[in-house]
């Protein structure tokens, strides 16, 4: 029954609380609480908080599901993701995938700024990364998240985790590439992708 309701919700979704005629919170109702941490419309002004607006639907759904199942390390996201059903996670992923990418908009604080030398070094190191994260990390498809223009502080933090945590969930291809790069290399790669607009 619940599933059927959610299908109906998807039919009438639109606007902030569109779909109010069906049982269960609407897509907008579920997602607007995310903005409190991830920024207005999923565009983050906090350098350690990733922007999630306009990320691929599949990627967002996968992240939330992995948080929910404790398969992806996190601080609070595993506690929050468990609060939603699979259908609700689907609605949240759809909501943010449908918004426009635009990191740093309206930011009142600056994160670390991109160092042009490091970014230049990162550009050559990122050649392998760009086999998937094409076009300076701008391209995104079902499983590949956008890297271009994401917060530098966040990218550094996460790339460090991908490298240091043996169990960090990541595609095999990615692990192979990450292992080839030193900590300094990865920092340069982060500067490169953060600097792409």
């Amino acid at each position: 029954m619940r599933k059927r309701m959610l299908v109906l919700a998807a039919v009438v979704v639109g606007g902030l609380w569109g779909g109010a005629a069906v049982a269960g919170p609407t897509s907008g109702m579920l997602s607007n609480t995310c903005d409190g941490c991830h920024g207005p419309g999923g565009v983050s002004p906090g350098p350690y908080m990733p922007s999630i607006a306009g990320m691929p639907y599949n990627f967002l759904k996968q992240m939330m599901t992995e948080f929910m199942k404790d398969e992806r390390p996190s601080t609070i996201m595993s506690r929050i993701a468990k609060g939603y059903s699979d259908g609700e996670i689907d609605e949240i992923a759809k909501h943010f995938a449908g918004l426009k990418w635009g990191v740093n908009n309206g930011a009142s604080v600056k994160g670390k700024s991109v160092d042009p030398d490091k970014a230049e070094k990162g550009k050559s190191l990122a050649r392998e990364c760009e086999k998937c994260h094409e076009d300076g990390g701008k391209k995104q498809d079902e499983d590949t998240p956008r890297m271009a223009g994401q917060w530098l502080d966040y990218l550094q933090l996460k790339l460090g985790e991908y490298k240091n945590d043996e169990k960090y969930p990541q595609p095999k291809k990615m692990k192979t590439q990450i292992d080839k790069l030193s900590v300094e290399d990865l920092e340069a790669v982060a500067h490169y992708f953060a600097g792409q607009k």
């Binding site: 109906l8 009438v12 979704v13 639109g14 606007g15 902030l16 609380w17 569109g18 779909g19 109010a20 005629a21 069906v22 049982a23 269960g24 919170p25 609407t26 109702m29 579920l30 607007n32 609480t33 903005d35 409190g36 941490c37 991830h38 920024g39 207005p40 983050s44 002004p45 906090g46 350098p47 350690y48 908080m49 601080t75 609070i76 506690r79 929050i80 993701a81 468990k82 609060g83 939603y84 309206g106 930011a107 009142s108 604080v109 502080d153 933090l157």
Partner: protein, 426 residues
């Protein structure tokens, strides 16, 4: 329920909202056409500002007026680090200028009276505003008469620091001036009160400061309660960080009954505590306007419909944030107020359009710092099920975690602050 007309209507309103979002709507409230719905929001904090913004977001035709007493807003969350010199008060200060950009009519004034029969509010500057729906978000007021010898006047000598601003700076001055070897005394309030982990975050940060600057001093927390928010994490963390903190619980005689400002002492039933640095956080109740307009019940807080935040005492008046009574253990936190505001805005919108009460989703995320590199958090999601607010998931940070994890939580605390402030003031 699923008739065509209804669906068509939902689609239509959804479309309008989306169109409103796409443009930057600059509305002139004075030009508001006859027949437009008017919502007045009282209070410009974590709850009020978000309610005003979301009402405009969902329907740019609603005429929204926000009335706030102060010209500038000082955020309480993350104000504790100011006391120990880790942060400047300036980064806690925000202006209301951008609200106009969202078509919100901002009025700097104090609401003195709510006339629920006439649906008007009147203010200190002698203005009167009519409403179809009213949102009341006044935060908390202190029970000045709850502890003998304490008063608003005395709080200038023995500060509470429970509303960020001059009181925060006063705490900072007293901490920096106190003698090495003197205790730093924190008097915690009884439940319920704004920001449950707040006094303990403060205790930890002060202990961190003392460890570096006045190593012979310790923090004494005098508490009427026998347990507190994130207790296990705080106590373990204080031990791990080598902080000198003594917590005196209610059972151990921690309840303060009297204050002697001339003597700079506080008294429990068992003992007198003396110091040049005392922080007394008084018992609290819903903000003044909620009291004088009869929105509060005998508990001192405002009962509301848990699904919509409409007052169960006065129809068409919605109370959100610290002032309202919420079940399901949702705390009086800034993030909870933000979440409640969004729910109330949705409920008001639905009511204007003759729709049923929308199903709410409630979230809270709250960080506390023990030191600059050591953060802990609590997060939870609630749903409205079987006519009650029901916790679906959540909890505090793990008891055992790496230093990296604790540091990340401290970093996320700052980013959380930037995001939630941007949602309010950008």
């Amino acid at each position: 329920m699923y008739d065509l007309t209804r669906r068509h209507f939902v689609k239509l309103t959804g479309g309008l909202a989306a169109a409103g979002l796409a443009s930057s709507f600059v509305a002139n409230p004075a030009r508001a056409a006859e027949g437009k719905k008017r919502v007045v929001v009282v209070g410009g904090g974590y709850g009020g500002v978000i309610a005003a913004k979301y009402l405009r977001k969902v329907d740019p035709n609603i005429v929204v007026t926000l009335i706030e007493k102060e010209k500038l807003y000082y955020s309480c969350p993350l104000s504790n680090p100011i006391i120990v010199g880790l942060r400047d008060l300036k980064v806690q200060r925000w202006g209301y200028d951008n609200l106009a950009k969202h078509g919100i009519n901002f009025i700097q004034d104090e609401v003195l009276e709510i006339d629920v029969a006439k649906r008007t509010v009147s203010t200190a500057k002698n203005a009167s505003f009519s409403y179809d729906k009213l949102v009341v978000a006044p935060g908390v007021e202190f029970k000045w008469d709850a502890i003998e010898g304490y008063s608003e006047k005395v709080s200038e000598k023995i500060p509470h620091g429970w509303k960020a601003g001059p009181q925060t700076l006063l705490l900072q001055e007293q901490l920096s001036a106190m003698k090495d070897g003197d205790p730093y005394i924190i008097v915690a309030p009884p439940n319920p009160y704004r920001c449950p982990p707040g006094p303990y975050e403060r205790a930890g940060l002060v202990a961190w400061y003392l460890k570096k600057n006045k190593p012979r001093s310790k923090v004494i927390i005098l508490d009427p309660k026998d347990k507190f928010a994130k207790q296990g994490l705080f106590i373990n963390g204080w031990k791990e960080l080598g902080f000198n903190i003594e917590w005196v619980s209610g059972n151990d005689g921690g309840k303060v009954t009297r204050v002697d400002a001339n003597n700079m002492s506080v008294h429990t039933e068992m003992q007198e505590y003396k110091s040049s640095a005392i922080n007394l956080i008084p018992p609290q109740k819903a903000g003044k306007i909620a009291q004088i307009s009869g929105l509060a019940d005998k508990t001192g807080w405002c009962p509301v419909n848990q699904k919509t935040f409409e007052s169960t005492i006065h129809k068409d008046v919605y109370v959100i944030g610290d002032a309202c009574t919420v079940t399901g253990e949702i705390p009086k936190s800034g993030f909870a107020a933000n979440s409640e505001a969004k729910i109330a805005a949705a409920a008001i919108h639905a009511s204007f359009n003759g729709q049923g009460e929308p199903d709410p989703s409630y979230v809270n995320t709250c960080y506390s710092l023990l030191s600059p590199d050591y953060g802990i958090s609590v997060a939870a999601v609630w749903a409205y099920r079987n006519n009650a607010i029901t916790k679906v998931s959540g909890g505090v940070s793990p008891e055992k975690a790496s230093a990296v994890f604790r540091k990340q939580e401290a970093m996320y605390a700052e980013s959380w602050y930037q995001s939630i402030m941007a949602e309010m003031f950008s």
